[in-house]
Protein backbone atom coordinates (compact mmCIF):
# COMPACT_ATOMS: atom_id res chain seq x y z
CA UNK A 1 0.00 0.00 0.00
CA UNK A 2 1.54 3.28 -0.99
CA UNK A 3 0.68 6.31 1.16
CA UNK A 4 -1.70 9.03 0.00
CA UNK A 5 -0.17 12.40 -0.86
CA UNK A 6 -1.41 13.75 2.49
CA UNK A 7 0.17 10.90 4.41
CA UNK A 8 3.37 11.23 2.45
CA UNK A 9 3.48 14.97 3.03
CA UNK A 10 3.43 14.27 6.77
CA UNK A 11 6.15 11.63 6.42
CA UNK A 12 8.39 13.97 4.48
CA UNK A 13 7.92 16.81 6.94
CA UNK A 14 8.94 14.46 9.73
CA UNK A 15 12.01 13.29 7.81
CA UNK A 16 13.19 16.81 6.96
CA UNK A 17 15.72 18.23 9.41
CA UNK A 18 14.71 21.52 10.99
CA UNK A 19 16.56 24.75 10.38
CA UNK A 20 18.41 25.96 13.44
CA UNK A 21 16.02 28.86 13.81
CA UNK A 22 17.42 30.43 16.96
CA UNK A 23 21.01 30.35 15.76
CA UNK A 24 20.03 31.63 12.30
CA UNK A 25 18.02 34.48 13.85
CA UNK A 26 20.97 35.44 16.03
CA UNK A 27 23.39 35.57 13.09
CA UNK A 28 20.83 37.49 11.02
CA UNK A 29 20.37 39.93 13.90
CA UNK A 30 24.11 40.48 14.33
CA UNK A 31 25.04 40.87 10.66
CA UNK A 32 21.89 42.82 9.77
CA UNK A 33 22.43 45.03 12.78
CA UNK A 34 26.04 45.59 11.77
CA UNK A 35 25.04 46.67 8.26
CA UNK A 36 22.55 49.17 9.73
CA UNK A 37 25.20 50.42 12.14
CA UNK A 38 27.57 51.08 9.24
CA UNK A 39 24.69 52.96 7.60
CA UNK A 40 24.15 55.00 10.76
CA UNK A 41 27.87 55.78 10.88
CA UNK A 42 27.83 57.09 7.30
CA UNK A 43 24.70 59.08 8.09
CA UNK A 44 26.22 60.71 11.17
CA UNK A 45 29.36 61.53 9.23
CA UNK A 46 27.40 63.18 6.42
CA UNK A 47 25.37 65.15 8.97
CA UNK A 48 28.58 66.36 10.58
CA UNK A 49 29.67 67.58 7.15
CA UNK A 50 26.49 69.65 7.09
CA UNK A 51 24.55 67.75 4.43
CA UNK A 52 20.77 68.08 4.28
CA UNK A 53 18.88 65.26 6.04
CA UNK A 54 17.45 63.85 2.79
CA UNK A 55 20.83 63.82 1.08
CA UNK A 56 22.38 62.11 4.08
CA UNK A 57 19.90 59.25 3.60
CA UNK A 58 20.70 59.08 -0.12
CA UNK A 59 24.47 59.01 0.46
CA UNK A 60 24.00 56.28 3.09
CA UNK A 61 22.02 54.12 0.66
CA UNK A 62 24.50 54.72 -2.16
CA UNK A 63 27.47 53.80 0.06
CA UNK A 64 25.88 50.55 1.23
CA UNK A 65 24.81 49.68 -2.30
CA UNK A 66 28.35 50.30 -3.53
CA UNK A 67 29.77 48.10 -0.79
CA UNK A 68 27.31 45.32 -1.59
CA UNK A 69 28.01 45.56 -5.34
CA UNK A 70 31.75 45.37 -4.72
CA UNK A 71 31.46 42.36 -2.40
CA UNK A 72 29.16 40.69 -4.93
CA UNK A 73 31.71 41.25 -7.68
CA UNK A 74 34.45 39.80 -5.49
CA UNK A 75 32.32 36.68 -4.82
CA UNK A 76 32.16 37.51 -1.11
CA UNK A 77 28.55 38.55 -0.61
CA UNK A 78 27.12 35.07 -1.16
CA UNK A 79 29.59 33.59 1.30
CA UNK A 80 28.50 36.02 4.02
CA UNK A 81 24.83 35.57 3.11
CA UNK A 82 25.10 31.78 3.44
CA UNK A 83 25.46 32.36 7.20
CA UNK A 84 23.64 35.67 7.62
CA UNK A 85 20.43 34.74 5.76
CA UNK A 86 17.96 37.55 6.32
CA UNK A 87 20.77 39.64 7.85
CA UNK A 88 22.09 40.27 4.34
CA UNK A 89 18.73 39.91 2.55
CA UNK A 90 16.60 42.50 4.32
CA UNK A 91 18.94 45.55 4.31
CA UNK A 92 19.31 47.61 1.13
CA UNK A 93 22.53 45.63 0.48
CA UNK A 94 20.36 42.57 -0.22
CA UNK A 95 18.41 44.55 -2.80
CA UNK A 96 21.68 45.63 -4.43
CA UNK A 97 22.99 42.06 -4.41
CA UNK A 98 19.75 40.91 -6.05
CA UNK A 99 20.40 43.35 -8.91
CA UNK A 100 24.15 42.98 -9.27
CA UNK A 101 24.41 39.17 -9.06
CA UNK A 102 22.24 38.31 -12.09
CA UNK A 103 23.83 41.17 -14.06
CA UNK A 104 27.24 39.60 -13.43
CA UNK A 105 26.17 35.98 -13.81
CA UNK A 106 24.33 36.46 -17.10
CA UNK A 107 26.85 38.67 -18.88
CA UNK A 108 27.73 35.69 -21.07
CA UNK A 109 24.21 35.97 -22.49
CA UNK A 110 25.08 39.45 -23.75
CA UNK A 111 24.79 43.05 -22.60
CA UNK A 112 21.13 43.52 -23.55
CA UNK A 113 19.19 40.36 -22.72
CA UNK A 114 21.85 39.09 -20.33
CA UNK A 115 23.03 41.96 -18.14
CA UNK A 116 20.26 44.40 -19.03
CA UNK A 117 17.22 42.18 -18.67
CA UNK A 118 18.35 39.70 -16.01
CA UNK A 119 19.35 42.53 -13.65
CA UNK A 120 15.67 42.92 -12.80
CA UNK A 121 14.78 39.24 -12.52
CA UNK A 122 14.81 39.26 -8.68
CA UNK A 123 14.79 42.98 -7.81
CA UNK A 124 12.29 44.02 -10.49
CA UNK A 125 9.27 42.83 -8.48
CA UNK A 126 10.51 44.86 -5.48
CA UNK A 127 10.58 48.07 -7.53
CA UNK A 128 7.27 47.24 -9.22
CA UNK A 129 5.23 46.41 -6.14
CA UNK A 130 6.86 49.11 -4.04
CA UNK A 131 5.97 51.68 -6.70
CA UNK A 132 2.47 50.29 -7.17
CA UNK A 133 1.82 50.47 -3.42
CA UNK A 134 3.12 54.04 -3.33
CA UNK A 135 0.89 55.05 -6.27
CA UNK A 136 -2.09 53.55 -4.49
CA UNK A 137 -1.19 55.57 -1.39
CA UNK A 138 -0.80 58.67 -3.57
CA UNK A 139 -4.24 58.14 -5.10
CA UNK A 140 -5.79 57.83 -1.66
CA UNK A 141 -4.06 61.02 -0.59
CA UNK A 142 -5.00 62.93 -3.75
CA UNK A 143 -8.65 61.91 -3.60
CA UNK A 144 -9.35 61.93 0.13
CA UNK A 145 -6.51 64.04 1.46
Amino acid sequence: MSPTPQEYNKMSQKAAPNSKLFRNMLVAFLIGGLICTIGQGVMEWMQSLGLEQKDCGAVTSISLIFLSALLTGLNCYDNIAKHAGAGTLVPITGFANAMVSPALEFKREGMILGVGAKMFSIAGPVILYGSAASVLYGLVLAIFG
Binding site: P3, G73, A84
Partner: protein, 343 residues
Protein backbone atom coordinates in the same frame (compact mmCIF):
# COMPACT_ATOMS: atom_id res chain seq x y z
CA UNK B 1 18.13 -11.88 -25.98
CA UNK B 2 16.33 -9.64 -23.51
CA UNK B 3 13.15 -11.19 -22.18
CA UNK B 4 10.48 -9.47 -20.23
CA UNK B 5 9.73 -10.89 -16.85
CA UNK B 6 6.80 -9.65 -14.83
CA UNK B 7 5.38 -6.32 -15.84
CA UNK B 8 8.37 -3.98 -15.70
CA UNK B 9 11.65 -5.92 -15.83
CA UNK B 10 13.82 -7.16 -18.69
CA UNK B 11 16.28 -9.98 -18.07
CA UNK B 12 19.34 -9.64 -20.29
CA UNK B 13 20.14 -13.21 -21.18
CA UNK B 14 23.37 -12.33 -22.99
CA UNK B 15 24.60 -10.35 -19.95
CA UNK B 16 26.32 -7.42 -21.68
CA UNK B 17 29.48 -6.15 -20.00
CA UNK B 18 30.45 -2.68 -18.98
CA UNK B 19 33.69 -2.86 -20.93
CA UNK B 20 35.21 0.37 -19.71
CA UNK B 21 34.24 3.48 -17.81
CA UNK B 22 35.54 6.93 -16.97
CA UNK B 23 34.77 9.58 -14.39
CA UNK B 24 35.61 13.23 -13.84
CA UNK B 25 34.99 15.65 -11.01
CA UNK B 26 36.09 19.01 -9.68
CA UNK B 27 37.38 20.51 -6.44
CA UNK B 28 34.49 19.77 -4.10
CA UNK B 29 34.24 16.19 -5.38
CA UNK B 30 37.99 15.70 -4.87
CA UNK B 31 37.61 16.83 -1.25
CA UNK B 32 34.89 14.24 -0.62
CA UNK B 33 35.42 10.66 0.53
CA UNK B 34 35.51 9.38 -3.09
CA UNK B 35 37.99 11.97 -4.36
CA UNK B 36 40.83 9.48 -4.83
CA UNK B 37 38.75 7.18 -7.05
CA UNK B 38 38.05 9.66 -9.84
CA UNK B 39 39.97 9.22 -13.12
CA UNK B 40 40.30 12.94 -13.68
CA UNK B 41 39.98 15.77 -11.17
CA UNK B 42 40.22 19.37 -12.30
CA UNK B 43 40.14 21.71 -9.30
CA UNK B 44 39.28 24.56 -11.69
CA UNK B 45 35.53 24.16 -12.15
CA UNK B 46 35.60 26.18 -15.38
CA UNK B 47 37.70 23.41 -16.94
CA UNK B 48 39.45 26.20 -18.83
CA UNK B 49 36.23 27.15 -20.65
CA UNK B 50 34.51 30.52 -20.89
CA UNK B 51 31.09 29.45 -19.56
CA UNK B 52 29.71 26.91 -17.08
CA UNK B 53 27.77 25.22 -19.87
CA UNK B 54 30.94 24.78 -21.91
CA UNK B 55 32.69 23.47 -18.79
CA UNK B 56 29.98 20.83 -18.45
CA UNK B 57 30.39 19.77 -22.08
CA UNK B 58 34.12 19.57 -21.50
CA UNK B 59 33.51 17.15 -18.64
CA UNK B 60 31.42 14.98 -20.99
CA UNK B 61 34.35 14.95 -23.42
CA UNK B 62 36.76 14.03 -20.63
CA UNK B 63 34.70 11.16 -19.18
CA UNK B 64 33.93 9.77 -22.64
CA UNK B 65 37.60 10.13 -23.57
CA UNK B 66 38.59 8.22 -20.45
CA UNK B 67 36.06 5.45 -21.08
CA UNK B 68 37.18 5.08 -24.70
CA UNK B 69 40.92 5.18 -24.05
CA UNK B 70 40.80 2.82 -21.07
CA UNK B 71 39.11 0.23 -23.29
CA UNK B 72 41.29 1.05 -26.31
CA UNK B 73 38.23 2.01 -28.32
CA UNK B 74 37.84 4.56 -31.08
CA UNK B 75 34.70 6.68 -31.30
CA UNK B 76 33.74 5.03 -34.62
CA UNK B 77 33.51 1.64 -32.91
CA UNK B 78 30.59 2.92 -30.84
CA UNK B 79 27.23 2.25 -32.51
CA UNK B 80 25.08 4.42 -30.32
CA UNK B 81 25.46 7.04 -27.59
CA UNK B 82 22.76 7.52 -24.96
CA UNK B 83 23.41 10.74 -23.09
CA UNK B 84 21.68 13.36 -21.01
CA UNK B 85 22.12 16.14 -18.49
CA UNK B 86 20.10 18.72 -16.58
CA UNK B 87 20.41 21.67 -18.92
CA UNK B 88 17.63 22.85 -21.19
CA UNK B 89 17.57 20.77 -24.38
CA UNK B 90 20.44 18.66 -22.97
CA UNK B 91 23.10 21.01 -24.30
CA UNK B 92 25.73 19.60 -21.96
CA UNK B 93 25.61 16.27 -23.79
CA UNK B 94 25.00 17.73 -27.24
CA UNK B 95 28.04 20.00 -27.27
CA UNK B 96 30.12 17.41 -25.44
CA UNK B 97 29.47 14.72 -28.06
CA UNK B 98 29.16 17.03 -31.09
CA UNK B 99 32.52 16.22 -32.61
CA UNK B 100 32.58 12.45 -32.04
CA UNK B 101 30.29 11.41 -34.91
CA UNK B 102 28.49 8.75 -32.83
CA UNK B 103 24.76 8.17 -33.51
CA UNK B 104 23.22 10.11 -30.62
CA UNK B 105 20.11 9.58 -28.54
CA UNK B 106 19.52 12.49 -26.16
CA UNK B 107 17.76 11.55 -22.93
CA UNK B 108 16.13 13.54 -20.20
CA UNK B 109 15.53 11.70 -16.95
CA UNK B 110 16.94 14.38 -14.64
CA UNK B 111 19.24 12.72 -12.09
CA UNK B 112 18.00 9.26 -13.13
CA UNK B 113 19.59 9.62 -16.56
CA UNK B 114 22.65 7.45 -15.82
CA UNK B 115 20.48 4.41 -15.08
CA UNK B 116 18.28 5.26 -18.05
CA UNK B 117 21.20 5.51 -20.48
CA UNK B 118 22.88 2.42 -19.04
CA UNK B 119 19.63 0.43 -19.29
CA UNK B 120 19.09 1.44 -22.91
CA UNK B 121 22.71 0.72 -23.81
CA UNK B 122 22.41 -2.72 -22.23
CA UNK B 123 19.13 -3.45 -24.05
CA UNK B 124 20.62 -2.40 -27.39
CA UNK B 125 23.69 -4.58 -26.88
CA UNK B 126 21.77 -7.54 -25.46
CA UNK B 127 19.44 -7.61 -28.46
CA UNK B 128 22.47 -7.25 -30.77
CA UNK B 129 21.17 -4.03 -32.27
CA UNK B 130 24.42 -2.44 -31.20
CA UNK B 131 27.83 -4.02 -30.66
CA UNK B 132 28.99 -1.24 -28.41
CA UNK B 133 26.93 1.51 -26.84
CA UNK B 134 27.97 4.50 -24.79
CA UNK B 135 26.11 5.78 -21.72
CA UNK B 136 27.16 9.17 -20.38
CA UNK B 137 25.66 11.86 -18.17
CA UNK B 138 26.93 15.03 -16.57
CA UNK B 139 26.00 17.87 -14.26
CA UNK B 140 27.73 21.05 -13.16
CA UNK B 141 26.89 22.88 -9.96
CA UNK B 142 27.17 26.29 -11.57
CA UNK B 143 25.23 25.60 -14.77
CA UNK B 144 22.45 23.90 -12.79
CA UNK B 145 22.34 26.63 -10.17
CA UNK B 146 21.94 29.46 -12.68
CA UNK B 147 19.29 27.57 -14.65
CA UNK B 148 17.18 26.20 -11.79
CA UNK B 149 17.84 28.51 -8.86
CA UNK B 150 19.73 31.76 -8.49
CA UNK B 151 22.79 33.45 -9.96
CA UNK B 152 25.89 32.11 -8.20
CA UNK B 153 26.78 35.41 -6.58
CA UNK B 154 23.28 35.81 -5.18
CA UNK B 155 23.21 35.69 -1.40
CA UNK B 156 20.63 33.05 -0.65
CA UNK B 157 20.42 30.56 2.17
CA UNK B 158 19.87 26.90 1.33
CA UNK B 159 17.42 25.01 3.55
CA UNK B 160 18.72 21.85 5.26
CA UNK B 161 16.76 19.63 2.85
CA UNK B 162 18.52 21.12 -0.21
CA UNK B 163 21.03 19.04 -2.14
CA UNK B 164 24.26 20.11 -3.80
CA UNK B 165 24.56 19.52 -7.56
CA UNK B 166 27.67 17.47 -8.29
CA UNK B 167 30.16 18.89 -10.77
CA UNK B 168 31.07 15.71 -12.54
CA UNK B 169 30.45 13.26 -15.32
CA UNK B 170 30.61 9.51 -15.78
CA UNK B 171 30.68 7.43 -18.96
CA UNK B 172 30.35 3.67 -19.63
CA UNK B 173 31.02 1.68 -22.79
CA UNK B 174 28.67 -1.29 -22.84
CA UNK B 175 29.47 -4.23 -25.14
CA UNK B 176 29.06 -7.95 -25.69
CA UNK B 177 29.58 -10.13 -22.68
CA UNK B 178 33.25 -10.24 -21.72
CA UNK B 179 34.52 -9.54 -18.26
CA UNK B 180 32.66 -8.22 -15.21
CA UNK B 181 30.77 -6.01 -14.47
CA UNK B 182 27.79 -7.63 -16.20
CA UNK B 183 24.38 -6.11 -16.66
CA UNK B 184 21.86 -8.80 -15.84
CA UNK B 185 18.52 -7.02 -15.76
CA UNK B 186 16.91 -3.62 -16.07
CA UNK B 187 13.64 -2.16 -14.82
CA UNK B 188 12.23 0.95 -16.41
CA UNK B 189 10.41 3.07 -13.86
CA UNK B 190 7.04 4.81 -14.02
CA UNK B 191 6.41 8.44 -13.14
CA UNK B 192 5.42 8.70 -9.48
CA UNK B 193 4.08 11.82 -7.83
CA UNK B 194 3.00 12.05 -4.22
CA UNK B 195 2.50 15.79 -4.34
CA UNK B 196 5.81 17.18 -3.05
CA UNK B 197 6.14 20.76 -4.32
CA UNK B 198 9.28 21.96 -2.60
CA UNK B 199 12.10 22.18 -5.16
CA UNK B 200 14.49 22.35 -2.22
CA UNK B 201 13.44 18.89 -1.09
CA UNK B 202 13.93 16.72 -4.13
CA UNK B 203 14.93 13.65 -2.15
CA UNK B 204 11.39 13.52 -0.79
CA UNK B 205 9.97 13.97 -4.28
CA UNK B 206 12.01 11.06 -5.67
CA UNK B 207 11.84 8.52 -2.85
CA UNK B 208 8.40 7.11 -3.84
CA UNK B 209 9.67 6.41 -7.36
CA UNK B 210 12.71 4.58 -5.99
CA UNK B 211 10.53 2.54 -3.64
CA UNK B 212 8.14 1.59 -6.46
CA UNK B 213 10.89 0.59 -8.87
CA UNK B 214 12.72 -1.51 -6.27
CA UNK B 215 9.48 -3.22 -5.22
CA UNK B 216 8.58 -3.95 -8.83
CA UNK B 217 11.98 -5.33 -9.65
CA UNK B 218 11.98 -7.64 -6.62
CA UNK B 219 8.45 -8.81 -7.43
CA UNK B 220 9.25 -9.37 -11.12
CA UNK B 221 12.40 -11.34 -10.40
CA UNK B 222 11.13 -13.15 -7.27
CA UNK B 223 14.17 -12.00 -5.32
CA UNK B 224 14.70 -10.31 -1.98
CA UNK B 225 17.09 -7.58 -0.83
CA UNK B 226 19.21 -10.30 0.81
CA UNK B 227 20.09 -11.56 -2.68
CA UNK B 228 22.07 -8.37 -3.32
CA UNK B 229 25.18 -6.90 -1.77
CA UNK B 230 24.17 -3.32 -2.30
CA UNK B 231 21.07 -1.40 -3.28
CA UNK B 232 22.49 1.84 -4.54
CA UNK B 233 20.06 4.69 -5.09
CA UNK B 234 21.08 7.83 -6.93
CA UNK B 235 20.76 11.17 -5.22
CA UNK B 236 18.02 10.67 -2.66
CA UNK B 237 20.22 12.39 -0.14
CA UNK B 238 19.63 12.16 3.57
CA UNK B 239 15.91 13.04 3.56
CA UNK B 240 15.02 10.87 0.56
CA UNK B 241 17.01 7.90 1.86
CA UNK B 242 15.18 7.95 5.17
CA UNK B 243 11.84 8.17 3.33
CA UNK B 244 12.76 5.33 0.96
CA UNK B 245 13.46 2.98 3.83
CA UNK B 246 10.16 3.95 5.49
CA UNK B 247 8.22 3.42 2.26
CA UNK B 248 9.80 0.00 1.71
CA UNK B 249 9.14 -0.99 5.32
CA UNK B 250 5.46 -0.36 4.59
CA UNK B 251 5.79 -2.87 1.74
CA UNK B 252 7.48 -5.32 4.16
CA UNK B 253 10.78 -4.95 2.32
CA UNK B 254 13.71 -4.54 4.69
CA UNK B 255 16.94 -3.23 3.23
CA UNK B 256 18.89 -4.06 6.41
CA UNK B 257 21.96 -1.93 5.87
CA UNK B 258 22.26 -2.84 2.19
CA UNK B 259 21.13 0.57 1.09
CA UNK B 260 23.63 3.19 -0.03
CA UNK B 261 22.95 6.46 -1.78
CA UNK B 262 25.23 8.16 -4.31
CA UNK B 263 24.27 11.57 -2.93
CA UNK B 264 25.44 10.51 0.53
CA UNK B 265 28.59 8.71 -0.64
CA UNK B 266 30.11 11.49 -2.71
CA UNK B 267 30.39 14.23 -0.07
CA UNK B 268 31.20 14.39 3.60
CA UNK B 269 28.02 16.01 4.90
CA UNK B 270 29.60 17.06 8.18
CA UNK B 271 32.53 18.87 6.60
CA UNK B 272 31.41 20.03 3.18
CA UNK B 273 28.30 22.15 3.75
CA UNK B 274 26.21 20.25 1.21
CA UNK B 275 23.16 19.96 3.46
CA UNK B 276 21.18 16.82 2.53
CA UNK B 277 23.83 15.45 0.11
CA UNK B 278 24.77 15.50 -3.57
CA UNK B 279 22.49 15.43 -6.60
CA UNK B 280 22.54 15.90 -10.36
CA UNK B 281 23.03 13.58 -13.32
CA UNK B 282 26.75 13.65 -12.67
CA UNK B 283 26.35 12.40 -9.10
CA UNK B 284 25.08 8.87 -9.77
CA UNK B 285 27.23 8.70 -12.92
CA UNK B 286 30.51 9.66 -11.30
CA UNK B 287 29.93 7.58 -8.15
CA UNK B 288 29.10 4.56 -10.29
CA UNK B 289 32.04 4.98 -12.65
CA UNK B 290 34.64 5.86 -10.02
CA UNK B 291 33.75 3.85 -6.94
CA UNK B 292 31.22 1.10 -7.68
CA UNK B 293 32.12 -0.41 -11.06
CA UNK B 294 35.80 -1.05 -10.14
CA UNK B 295 34.61 -2.96 -7.06
CA UNK B 296 32.25 -5.11 -9.12
CA UNK B 297 35.02 -5.72 -11.66
CA UNK B 298 37.33 -6.90 -8.87
CA UNK B 299 34.58 -8.95 -7.31
CA UNK B 300 34.62 -7.18 -3.94
CA UNK B 301 31.00 -6.30 -4.69
CA UNK B 302 28.88 -9.08 -6.15
CA UNK B 303 25.38 -7.98 -7.04
CA UNK B 304 24.39 -4.34 -7.05
CA UNK B 305 21.02 -2.82 -7.85
CA UNK B 306 21.80 0.62 -9.27
CA UNK B 307 18.64 2.71 -8.91
CA UNK B 308 19.16 6.25 -10.13
CA UNK B 309 16.32 8.61 -9.31
CA UNK B 310 15.23 11.80 -11.04
CA UNK B 311 12.97 14.73 -10.22
CA UNK B 312 11.20 15.57 -13.45
CA UNK B 313 10.29 19.19 -12.88
CA UNK B 314 11.29 22.34 -14.73
CA UNK B 315 11.59 25.95 -13.55
CA UNK B 316 8.34 26.60 -15.44
CA UNK B 317 6.38 23.83 -13.71
CA UNK B 318 7.77 24.92 -10.34
CA UNK B 319 6.72 28.52 -10.89
CA UNK B 320 3.27 27.37 -11.95
CA UNK B 321 2.93 25.54 -8.66
CA UNK B 322 2.98 21.98 -10.04
CA UNK B 323 4.14 19.16 -7.81
CA UNK B 324 7.39 17.36 -8.61
CA UNK B 325 7.06 14.00 -10.38
CA UNK B 326 9.82 11.51 -9.63
CA UNK B 327 11.22 8.59 -11.60
CA UNK B 328 13.65 5.77 -10.90
CA UNK B 329 15.25 3.27 -13.27
CA UNK B 330 17.02 0.16 -12.08
CA UNK B 331 20.03 -1.67 -13.49
CA UNK B 332 21.18 -4.95 -11.96
CA UNK B 333 24.98 -5.04 -12.13
CA UNK B 334 26.83 -8.17 -11.20
CA UNK B 335 30.31 -9.61 -10.93
CA UNK B 336 29.09 -12.93 -12.33
CA UNK B 337 27.02 -13.97 -15.33
CA UNK B 338 24.72 -16.25 -13.41
CA UNK B 339 23.03 -15.85 -10.11
CA UNK B 340 24.75 -17.49 -7.19
CA UNK B 341 23.37 -20.97 -6.53
CA UNK B 342 21.53 -21.18 -9.85
CA UNK B 343 22.83 -23.67 -12.48
Amino acid sequence: MAVKTGKYTYLLENTPSVLSFGSVGSKKESEGPLGQYFDVINPDSTFGESSWEKAESKMVQISVGQALSKGNFEADQIDMAFAGDLLNQCIGSVYGLRDLGIPFVGLYGACSTMAESLALSALFVDTAIAKKALAVTSSHFCSAERQFRFPLEYGGQRPPTAQWTVTGSGACVVGESGAAPYIRAVTIGCIEDLGIKDANNMGAAMAPAAAKTITRYLTDTHTRPEDYDMILTGDLGQVGSALLEQLLEQEKIHLQGRHQDCGLLIYDRQQQDVHAGGSGCGCAASVLCSFILPKIRKGTLGDVLFVATGALMSPTSSMQGESIPGIAHLVHLSSSRRRKGVE
